[in-house]
């Protein structure tokens, strides 16, 4: 069953085509890796999917209902949760309150939200810092917190933009375990990552973008062995 359908989506910034006629489907319970060198359009695509950017063309269907042009808050209520590449937390609110914002905004009662916040805090091993303001956390702890925010109410689809970047290996492992466990229970993800070993390990399927185009959409093994992908990454490094 198709949960998310991206059909011919494009986005231009002036003369630059950041996302070029991108199409792919994500089935329910799938965990899709989205890879590609820097500047290939991954974040822009997630911005479009989460309502932060308007596509110049194309269509996005969520549960077979068009959803392009909806605001981020409407999409959040429809079950699209997104983690930012540049971490976003509520810096002057403590860890618990950061989680409660999402829980309460998405319709949980006070007690239910608090119980879920505490469950997430222990699952993500944030116990020791749960009363600290988010602005006082380390970069990795902030990422872990933002990661938790995405799962206060299990989303229809979680869009994670480089959750492992610059994160301590221990926390990377916590996030990896969490993603694996939720995936086994049927959670749907798009995971953007530069960390190829993790992508190989977690994602059965990968989509690779380069300069706005989807250059291949296949099993992760096939994608990583594809000459176009190797070329794209090497070309990106040379530039």
């Amino acid at each position: 069953m198709t949960l998310l359908s991206v059909r011919g989506v494009s986005k231009r910034f002036g003369g630059l085509v950041a996302v070029n006629n991108v199409s792919f489907d994500v089935a329910a319970s799938e965990l899709v890796g989205l890879i590609g060198p820097n500047g290939s359009g991954k974040t822009t695509l997630l911005n479009i999917l989460s309502g932060l950017a308007d596509p110049d063309g194309g269509e996005i269907l969520l549960d077979n209902v068009p959803c392009q042009g909806l605001t981020p808050e409407r999409l959040a209520h429809r079950g699209v949760m997104r983690m930012f590449q540049l971490t976003r937390v509520f810096r002057r609110m403590n860890v618990i309150d950061n989680l409660l914002v999402a829980g309460r905004a998405l319709g949980l009662g006070a007690d239910e939200a608090l119980a879920r916040a505490h469950a997430l805090i222990s699952e993500l091993r944030l116990d020791v810092i749960r009363h600290l303001d988010a602005g006082q956390l380390s970069g990795g702890q902030m990422k872990l917190l933002e990661f938790g925010v995405c799962f206060m109410v299990p989303p229809r689809i979680a869009l994670l933009d480089e959750p492992f970047a610059a994160v301590h290996p221990t926390m990377k492992e916590i996030m990896g375990d969490f993603i694996r466990a939720r995936h086994e229970k049927g959670q749907t993800f798009i995971l953007v990552s530069h960390d190829m070993p993790v992508v190989v390990e977690l994602c059965p399927r990968a989509v690779c973008m380069n300069a706005g185009d989807v250059i291949i959409d296949a099993t992760t093994r096939e994608v990583l062995n594809d000459p176009r992908v190797i070329e794209a990454y090497l070309g990106g490094q040379a530039a």
Partner: protein, 327 residues
């Protein structure tokens, strides 16, 4: 910055616990301060100083209302005095022209200023930082000039005479104090509810708030409306206390005082701005005798606090208590 985790055993308690103890501590401190204010007339009967304290309470309401908008929601509007003026003129004009009794006029003032606040909030929805400040400042000046120049209706700078409400100064003292305490209770309840979470989330990161599903348009305009309604309420009370309404209520200098009180007391703390309103206003009365330096002094204090003591006097007091508790 980390009150509960650093010093209290709350971090070790298991199971469900309250995360908004910070607000509760601040609320209790504010109530203690108000209890002290309630006792002052036992020792002070000089009508001049009682009057100074009544005006302090007027400003405490305005500082509390502005703090809700600027300190908790991050919307740096520069029109709080304007809403007091709108509230004062609402009941003043109703009373002057239609003989509407003060109590009814005060209710109307709350509604009208709240609605104007809602409209202003809508209009400035997409503005941030200096753009928001400048736009609300222009709004404030326009409203004041309208009040000042509509001489046929408002009698301009001469002011509009309105009916009194109470005969005794002590009566007014406790009426203002009661109003202030009621507003503190309402703000406390608001901040402890999910609204408090959403407002602070908007202050800290609007995009993250939207990602989390917070209806930013609704909550921002609500914050504007509530803040404006509370300011209008203070202005309407003041109108019947002074028995006169003038455009001076909406002077930028008044907003300057409200901002000073809030920043010096501690933006985004429930107790700080309310308590600082008394300190700043009483100090300004003293400085008045020394010769008109009060605005310079307050401007300097605002800069110092904004730069070095982000949580104001409240933050300093809390740090002192924690150091003392650890020693």
């Amino acid at each position: 910055m980390a009150p509960s985790s650093a010093t209290s055993p709350a971090g070790n308690r298991s199971g469900v616990q309250l995360s908004n103890t910070k607000t509760t501590v601040e609320f209790r401190a504010a109530l203690v301060a108000m209890a002290i204010v309630a006792l002052i007339p036992l020792g002070v009967s000089n009508p001049y100083w009682l009057g100074v304290l009544i005006v302090s309470m007027y400003f405490a309401i305005l500082a509390g209302a502005w703090n809700l908008l600027a300190g908790y929601t991050g919307q740096f509007s520069l029109a709080p005095a304007t809403f007091a003026m709108i509230g004062a003129y609402t009941t003043g004009l109703l009373n002057h022209y239609f003989g509407v009794p003060p109590l009814l006029g005060i209710v109307a003032a709350v509604v009208v200023s709240g609605l104007v606040g809602l409209l202003l909030g809508r209009a400035v929805l997409r503005l941030v930082g200096p753009y928001l400040a400048l736009t609300t400042l222009s709004f404030a000046e326009i409203m004041r000039l309208v009040a000042s120049n509509s001489i046929d209706i408002t009698r301009g700078d001469l002011g509009l005479g309105v009916a009194g409400l109470l005969d005794s100064r002590i009566g007014w003292y406790y009426l203002f104090l009661g109003a202030l305490v009621v507003l503190l209770i309402l703000f406390y309840m608001l901040l402890r509810s999910k609204a408090g979470l959403f407002l602070q989330a908007i202050r800290d990161d609007e995009v993250a708030a939207r990602r989390a599903g917070v209806n930013v348009v609704f909550w921002k305009t609500t914050a504007f409306a509530i803040s404006a309604a509370a300011s209008g309420f203070a202005g309407a009370l003041y109108a019947h206390f002074a028995e006169l309404v003038t455009p001076e209520l909406g002077l930028i200098g008044q907003t300057g005082l409200i901002v000073s009180m809030t920043v010096i007391g501690g933006m985004g703390t429930l107790a700080g701005p309310v308590v600082a309103a008394f300190l700043v206003y009483v100090l300004s009365e003293w400085l008045r005798d020394v010769g008109g330096y009060q605005l310079v002094v307050f401007a300097a204090l605002v800069v110092i606090f904004a730069r070095f003591f982000r949580e104001g006097l409240w933050g300093l007091a809390r740090a002192a208590v924690q150091r003392w508790g650890r020693a």
